[in-house]
Homo-oligomer: 406 residues x 2
Amino acid sequence: MSLVVQKYGGTSVADATCISNVARRVVETRKAGNDVVVVVSAMGQTTDDLIALATQVSSDPSGREMDMLLTAGERISMALLAMAIRDLGVEAASLTGSQAGILTDAAHGEARITAIRGDRVRQYLDEGLVVIVAGFQGVDPASKDVTTLGRGGSDATAVAMAAALGADVCEIYTDVDGVFTADPRLVGTARKLEAVSYEDMLELAGAGAGVLMARSVEFARRYGIPVHVRSSFHDGPGTWIKEEAMEQTVITGVAHDTSEAKVTVHGVPDQPGIAARLFGALAAESVNVDMIVQNVSTAGHTDISFTVPKEHLTKARGAAEALIPELGADGVDVDQAIAKVSLVGVGMRNHPGVAADMFKVLADHAINISMISTSAIRISCIIEADRCEEAVQSLHDYYLPEQAPV
Amino acid sequence: MSLVVQKYGGTSVADATCISNVARRVVETRKAGNDVVVVVSAMGQTTDDLIALATQVSSDPSGREMDMLLTAGERISMALLAMAIRDLGVEAASLTGSQAGILTDAAHGEARITAIRGDRVRQYLDEGLVVIVAGFQGVDPASKDVTTLGRGGSDATAVAMAAALGADVCEIYTDVDGVFTADPRLVGTARKLEAVSYEDMLELAGAGAGVLMARSVEFARRYGIPVHVRSSFHDGPGTWIKEEAMEQTVITGVAHDTSEAKVTVHGVPDQPGIAARLFGALAAESVNVDMIVQNVSTAGHTDISFTVPKEHLTKARGAAEALIPELGADGVDVDQAIAKVSLVGVGMRNHPGVAADMFKVLADHAINISMISTSAIRISCIIEADRCEEAVQSLHDYYLPEQAPV
């Protein structure tokens, strides 16, 4: 008998019909002889509706109370799912994050899981129940206050629960078929990957492949939990994320990300400590900085460029502009019309020249590169946003050409 | 400094505007120098909406999961209220029934409060917070499952919390101005009572006065908590429910109830044990029987009539009909077109003849009485439903005539 953790997102439980469909799939898994723990998100628009209510009663809702409010969402979906499963003749019980023993730190709205006390889940499994666990939520054991885990939180719940219980697999059900070599909406020849290594998936997640966030991949990697990302709309296999990928290609996929903006500080004196002061100020404002590039110095002055999520742009520009007198810089420019295209692949380690090839492909299409950043298994270039699709398509054609039919 | 427990029902927190209004009232009470605990119901239609969802996914929703589902309702309203109060500059925190230490038995959907561990509420009060507690819900300490308290549950939460904390007053905010001498929709001259004793209020609640259920009044009486039933729409005083009412009249009020139906078992052999068997069978089906009348025996046979809530009628009729062969009875009749009119007043104890006067008033209006039931401080008559308004009006005119203007 295997222990399977399944996670269903908000679109998979958007209404009563969807919930009944999920219930059937859970029951099939149970009847195939598996122990099943289901992690579930709030129904479709519930979270957005609750946030809208909060903004109507408060200009600056308390983090503690926002978490109390939002956790009502999973409470509704998990209870309905448990009812629907029982209606199919299989015993089931729902548990809140707190009841399931999901302990977190005190950071309301973006809490981190610190430990999982799985006793109650294990007891219910031993009694033969399917256990439904609320995703996205936990409890801070110090204050006993309910917390939420922030973006991608339900995936994190599922992977952490799988790790705590020693599950055989963590299945992430989603509205796409798996992890692709590029976004299939941009690249018609993009292929679903049968398997991808934890490392590649970490880089793909960081490079904008939205199917699974880096925090969950990192957790799965650390505890060696195989993750199966698959569609909730059909029974076909999706993509396995695990230690060793089966396909040993140089490049696993092409990712892109248009959610960032570029900030450039011009005419910065080329002196020690300038970058530390600038990025220290940004960190103090909780701005997430992704790529950083400093040009070579000309006549004792240089330009520093960096990218930030667009929703942090106002904070970032403000912090940079406030430093202009202190830094003795010329000014600050921002550019929101940028895209980041990335090549990811663990095989890159043993294949020098990937970066040079990438730059050549882009140059052949007259696509200008304004920033470059690399890791051992990833190369990212910032280009103009309106060239993004062409860049992804041409890189995919070059590195991952359509396979000849067998 | 006083400790005030305030309870707001679903219509008082129906939308964001209502919640902001409640927040203002809570803040006024706090700024007047009181410690404040607020018990809150789910917003307006939330509970009905959740029940509708449950019936879409299950033909017979599990009681445990139904309670998990419905408790999301107060979670939403209490978090929003806490945010709204903080927005007015007063510190506040919300607590679920479980977090507030409201322990119950395991009867999902109609749990009884068995104890309140008020430590966390007291700690928050000591820290200067307004504490918002979810009404209608608790936790069964044996299973650690969440429970709901059934009809009138939020009032019960408020009164029990007031008792546990030793509050100076429990204020029940509602959409009426207080307790009236009769339903003002039926009787234009009905007056709001300044005060009413626990005993009178218990009988009024049992006789159909819907403003507060008997379970909450009984709890208040047992622990000597003064209850102030008042309007959430204005600041005027409502009705105080307490040990000694100020007004010492014979009759406190006229109540009526059209929610019951009458069942008559005809031709029952007049033998010992028959009634025990009949009402034993009804109890086994969890039918709530209110009034019971057995006519005098004619030729060794008698009729037994009883009233039940209309929603229990199908069960009651079925149980009675199943017993016909065993009892040797002739048949079962039901009548849904009935009303119960009641006179209530602790003064009745010292005033013989109230019953006779009541029957005469009804006879003068040619209103037929089909069943009679009395306690020391209440007389109830079952009459035809379409004579209810006339009966209430004429009894009110006789016992509680319009007071002369001063």
